[in-house]
Symmetry: C2
Subunit: 411 residues, 2 copies
């Protein structure tokens, strides 16, 4: 066995749409000695985390807790627990992560209908409402912020319609939670999935979710207590008509684990829970409104700088996600070469995109702890230099002046 | 929103059969700034982790990587990817975690046969082999070390038989990996699932797995490239006869993500990967054989101390797991009161057990970083004091003298 070097990661400025830089206070929290999962001191931290998640999701829901896995584990946990085989599910798609909802819903045995709109735009809510009335789904699943295209879908009207028609509305808010408003209760969202590694600035590894009584009723109808923890002498319980497929991602079991009963399921990720709790503590100390305003400010400075360089922003500006800027790669420029030079020489990471947008756009995230004046200004200076080095014609110096103007005006 | 206190966990001596204390070097690794998941520096760390996992599992398998979730996510990923609905699966059960394998296999659509043996014992391999010949399964799933009863199942003969009969053998080695030998190749194990939070002393949050070409062939036959990352213009691929149910726990997708192709799936848990890599680095620096010897030494001292107190060890000693000691709770003693006093006054955590053993035994783990002379000696002194306080008649002072004798002889 060869010897392995001590871990010593190079410091990076991470301006992708996730994962982004982690708040140093969260990194410190990760390094604290662990507590046992049923230690009363630890379960108190779990309960505090639930309280803080309710505040984050703007909900009075009883259930708000993290699923122990990356963001798509939260999506799959919700869909797997809510979709009974044969259920009709409508997925409106406007980017890569809409396709993921389709994929997962299909694997859950749903009869999926999709509507698609051009990448770079979102749906007029009326189009979605028309599709709902046409396809009569039991569940609608939709992405709130599509990082693949940098667009954000208004949800309020869709939520009202789903509630009126008694349809469950599931929302993937992985990329927006903690950076822009996500109004679970006011928008009538029945289940919402968030992510840690984007606007919360906690490393990837947990997926905070919330769901209301309407969703819980469907979950409980499919509940089955696990073999091996049924009380002694317990008769074989009646198997529900369509039990939940997954054990690991079974909300009925997860909510028992997060309830005062603390029914044994997985072993909670103690260190990640420390990190999530600290990330939420920091978020509430900053205040949600102040946090959203910070994201808007740095977005303005970034966009002003990019525009001053003469670069074209991709997509419909009316539905731009405030935490991602997509830039059209200028004709004749190798986008990957630009990204590599930024990473290798400036230690700055930005993203490319997927599918039809591969090689067409760069994506620059301003999320959470990465969303700072320092990062925006460092990036604009570096980006200008790298683009000049690649032969792009641009007014040297203009980007930073434009961004500085935004910051001066904001004083 | 109320204000939340700064995180400040009380230091604990954790002597449960997991989660156990985390090596401080692993805690430090968790606190390093993150790298992006496709940063070449990060993917190099992923590759090193795979190499070190092959050494841990004692295998030449190509595939050895962590699933991003707690241990049962690794179990479900393996079973979900290998079991096609209708497959016959045999699960020999000798404790709580055998029931979990049954539960998960059933949810995967398997026709499960079980054989059970009394808790506190394991199977004579010939019993399992007879059941294999009787039920003719495609897959056998069995636990290597059952923490619920503290027993360990010999696997070599079962492995040989499964290979001869072309049956896939899946082994849950969550509790043994890194503390006692797990010989993936020599014992003919087709897929093995490990845990991080036990003998590896990394926090719960990842589940290292390995599987061989025989297992991979079954996975690949069920492979389906995800919607949204299919190349543009790609025709709708033929859906395999029985595709893998889960997207998150789909080994076909996970291995593409861990391959040089790095096909986008989840966002790797960067900080947990740092922790796992550091835990494996420490393990290989100590050396597997030295590590197993350390576990045996502290087991001897612990058992000598418990015996000197006049306590009865639970279960068949011939198949005792070297990293867990189960103690029969003396008649008339409230086991939970003893555990609470240990935790509240001495900050030491030990475990109770499940199902038929609830209230009957205490379980004391000596795993990974928690497996130390300091912990064994502190625990024995504290345990004696707490038992005396609960009215147990025992020869005061004898436990520590007996343990010290073991340590003197080992010099």
């Amino acid at each position: 066995m060869r010897t392995y070097a001590e871990l010593s990661p190079t410091p990076r400025t991470i301006l992708t749409p996730g994962p982004v830089e982690v708040d140093p206070r969260v990194l410190r929290a990760l390094s604290y000695p662990i507590l046992g999962q049923f230690d009363p001191e630890f379960t108190a931290l779990m309960n505090e985390t639930m309280e803080m998640l309710r505040g984050l999701f703007r909900t009075e829901n009883n259930w708000a807790y993290p699923v122990d896995g990356t963001s798509r584990s939260g999506i799959e946990a919700v869909l797997n627990s809510l979709i009974e085989p044969g259920d009709r599910v409508l997925v409106p798609i406007y980017g890569r992560f809409g396709h993921l909802l389709h994929e997962i819903a299909e694997r859950c045995g749903a009869e999926v209908s999709t509507i698609e709109t051009e990448w770079g735009t979102v749906f007029d809510p009326e189009e979605v409402i028309a599709a709902i009335k046409r396809t009569k789904p039991q569940i609608v699943a939709i992405v709130h912020g599509e990082t693949s295209t940098g667009r954000m879908q208004p949800l309020e009207d869709i939520g009202r319609t789903c509630r009126e028609l008694d349809i469950l509305l599931v929302v993937d808010a992985v990329a927006t939670i903690g950076g822009v408003p996500v109004e679970t209760d006011a928008w009538h969202l029945d289940a919402v999935i968030g992510g840690t590694q984007k606007c919360l600035s906690v490393p990837s590894g947990m997926s905070p979710i919330t769901y209301n009584d309407r969703a819980e009723r469907k979950v409980l109808a499919r509940k089955r207590v696990e073999r091996g923890i049924r009380p002694p002498g317990c008769v074989e319980p009646e198997v529900p008509r369509r039990p939940i497929q997954s054990n690991y991602l079974d909300l009925a079991q997860l909510q028992d684990y997060w309830s005062p009963a603390r029914l044994n399921h997985h072993t909670e990720m103690t260190s990640m829970l420390y990190g999530l709790r600290e990330g939420l503590r920091i978020l509430h100390a900053e205040g949600l409104e102040a946090r959203f305003a910070r994201h808007r400010l740095h977005e303005s400075a970034l966009v002003a700088g990019l525009t001053a360089m003469g670069l074209a922003l991709y997509g419909d500006p009316a539905c731009k996600m405030p935490v991602v800027a997509c830039v059209t790669i200028p004709e004749g420029i190798d986008g990957e070469s630009v990204r590599s030079m930024l990473l290798e020489l400036f230690s700055i990471e930005i993203a490319s995109s997927f599918g039809p947008l591969k090689g067409k756009i760069w994506r620059i995230g301003t999320m959470g702890y990465s969303c700072s004046r320092k990062n925006v200004l460092h990036f604009l200076g570096a980006f200008e230099a790298v683009l000049l080095r690649h032969g792009v014609k641009l007014p040297a110096g203009a980007a930073l002046q434009a961004a500085l103007d935004v910051y001066s005006e904001a004083r």
